[in-house]
Symmetry: C2
Subunit: 227 residues, 2 copies
DNA sequence: CGTATGAGGTTACCCGAGGTAACACCAAAG
DNA sequence: CTTTGGTGTTACCTCGGGTAACCTCATACG
């Protein structure tokens, strides 16, 4: 029974099971089945369900494990005493470096399988929600916005997170440029370069909005527009 | 073989089935089961599978239907001959108005169920990819960015789309403010207000970062528009 | 010593969702 | 009257999440 000494073996097993789940997800991506995870752990499903109530529970435990690290990095990056632009670039780079280092893990963190338990219409995974909150808090603390400061901070937190998420995913898949270039491109966007840049002379052909040439070497993957 | 005349009854049935699917999704949200859709249509599964190869096919057909409208709106908003800031606000408002008008539908469009067929690691749903492409094209055509223009346009297209997606989802769920305020908040972000705003004197408390709830002002908030 | 107890583990099952096979019906074309 | 092609059905398969019931072994205890 008990002897619940310091390291109850139960907790230890839990960690081992999470390790196994981790391996499977790192191999199969999110959407790994409970069967697969159990197999990897060398056991069968019911045990998994004894330790984690359901799939959601397991995934959540697993997510929290990894989230801690990511969140800590972001938090640290947000707290550095730098000029704002450098700080923002630091945060962007932190995130991109993280997803670059362990794509599968971060795909799992950022793109929960929709069956993972989140209610319907949950756009940002918990890990990202936390990052968004972190950014919002930083904005609220560090930036002087007049009235509406609260609303702006919240909105920007989500917005920036979503921006980096979408851009980061695309970058991971296509690798259209170096990490530094990506950081710069996003920071430029946040820095109002879109507002500041001059107009291009309206070229002759006004119509045909989508998909024209690929400039430089971007080689965009085409996507049939049409309707 | 098929006189493929204009109104082949087959196509008509297809549309009726899509109508039914539409109704179900509008009611149950994405993740509606094929059984449910078949039932709503007053028929059984195999028929569904005869018209649309699989669930992915059905969802895709359904998505294309709705995407057309959304995409057209966005495209139109992007082509208006306005000052850039007004144009951007118009696009933001167009998107927010759309998701506000038919939340379930746009949730379906923007948050595919992961089993809907997209490959693993597909962050942006097809509809959103198209919007991103549209924005990228507009940037490429209208904005004068030096070298790297292509890369910047692509990145910003995704980034802006992700930003609006995340912020829009949050706005839909929480309704923290009016649509206009949301548009302004996002446009401000894009306009470099984050860069321009002054520093806040570093308060004593270093921070308790997370904590999601609504920060003081979110609700009532004050009057003044930004400045 | 025998036994109760509780972790660790197993087999075998239920259910719902995607997807398919085989068969039945009905209208028009020949 | 028969072929053809679309509409429809029932019944089934598979796979994944989740559960019930049962087994087993070490240990604490009378």
């Amino acid at each position: 029974m008990t002897g619940i000494g310091s390291g109850s073996g139960t907790e230890e097993r839990r960690q081992q099971l999470l390790d196994a789940a981790d391996r499977v997800i790192r191999r199969d991506g999110p959407g790994a089945s409970m069967n697969a995870i159990a197999a990897e752990a060398g056991i069968t499903k019911p045990i998994l369900y004894r330790h984690f109530t359901d799939k959601h529970g397991l995934y959540q435990a697993l997510a929290e494990r990894h989230t801690a690290g990511l969140l800590a990095s972001v938090r640290a990056a947000l707290a550095r005493p730098l000029e704002r632009r450098d700080l923002v670039e630091g945060v962007l780079d932190t995130y991109l470096a993280a997803i670059e280092a362990r794509p599968q893990v971060y795909r799992f963190l950022t793109h929960p399988e929709a069956g993972d338990g989140l209610g319907p219409g949950s756009p940002l995974a918990p890990a990202l929600q936390k990052i968004a909150d972190e950014i919002a808090a930083a904005v609220r603390h560090q930036v002087d916005l007049g009235a509406q400061a609260g609303l702006l901070a919240e909105t920007w937190g989500r917005g920036i997170t979503g921006m980096v998420l979408a851009a980061g995913d695309w970058w991971l898949e296509q690798r259209p440029c170096s990490r530094e270039e990506m950081v710069t491109a996003l920071a430029d966007l946040l820095w109002g370069r879109l507002a500041a840049a001059g107009h291009r002379p309206v070229a002759a052909g006004t119509a045909e909005p989508a998909a024209s040439g690929d400039p430089a070497g971007t080689s965009a993957a085409g996507s049939g527009t049409a309707g």
